[in-house]
């Protein structure tokens, strides 16, 4: 039982570290956001393994879910602005806002 | 009787793990986005259902079983919707990706 749990922890932590390094060193914003969502899921599983379901709940809902969705929208907006800086960016911010 | 139930739940859980591994292999090995989508969604939902069926043996009370059943139904509905959305978005690809 203890050895199996130790093996579980080793797999969990190795992958968590690899995910963190991959997310930080990713050059492309949307890939970094995907890796961040995966990192949040993984960290939430670490909290679940530590028998802290409340912290795991908060991490999954806020850290990965809300933050991930917001960062996805932000990365898309940044990519769009970078791609069509002078031609397309007027359609970016809805009806009222002036183009940046 | 008890050992039979244990054996049955272990078999169900192992079958679920097999379907999960099949889904992962499909995600990695298949050549196209749509074939990957097809392999992933179905295999995963079936694997999760088998694992939950195996975990019914360890449930503390009936409410827990109801929660697991609802969770599986939610996963099936949201998985089907999500794969549909991803496929439609990839089919209409409007140059936003590249």
């Amino acid at each position: 039982m203890t050895q199996l749990l130790l093996l579980f922890d080793v797999v969990l932590l190795t992958t968590l570290l690899a995910l963190a390094v991959a997310a930080v060193t990713s050059p492309e914003p949307r890939r970094a956001v995907m890796l961040f969502i995966a990192f949040g899921l993984w960290l939430s599983m670490v909290w679940a393994r530590l028998r802290a379901p409340d912290v795991a709940l908060a991490e999954a809902a806020i850290g990965a879910g809300l933050g991930g969705a917001l960062m996805l929208a932000a990365a898309r907006r940044a990519a769009k602005r970078e791609a069509g800086d002078s031609t397309e960016s007027a359609g970016d911010s809805g009806a009222g806002g002036p183009p940046a | 009787m008890n050992i039979l139930l244990d054996l049955l739940s272990v078999l169900l859980i192992l079958a679920g793990a097999f379907f999960f591994i099949a889904g992962t292999v499909g995600l990695l090995r298949l050549p196209d986005l749509f074939t990957r989508l097809h392999a992933l969604t179905k295999a995963d939902n079936l694997g999760l259902g088998l694992i939950m069926l195996g975990c019914v043996r360890f449930a503390p009370d009936g409410l827990y079983i109801a929660k697991m059943l609802l969770l599986w139904l939610l996963i099936m509905a949201s998985g089907a919707t999500a794969s549909h959305l991803i496929a439609k978005r990839a089919l209409r690809g409007d140059g936003e990706d590249y």
Partner: protein
Amino acid sequence: MHEILIAVAIILLISMSVGLIRIVIGPTPADRMMAAQLLGTSGIGVLALLAPALGVPALMDVALIFALLAAVSVAAFTRRRVGQDRP
């Protein structure tokens, strides 16, 4: 009995780790989103196995949040403004 549950959880965890390769190398963002969905589903499986093995039934609530998270992130990923729907 609980040893078998943890062993299967380790197998699922390794399968999730292998699926992460698709997030890293995936050619399109849709591939990455798909891999994130696989991550959510397998995570629910791991939590469902871990809940009886560790003796914490509340982990099933965390699994519920994982299910919601997969749906929300896919919806945020494929979101379109009104009027941009037609190709």
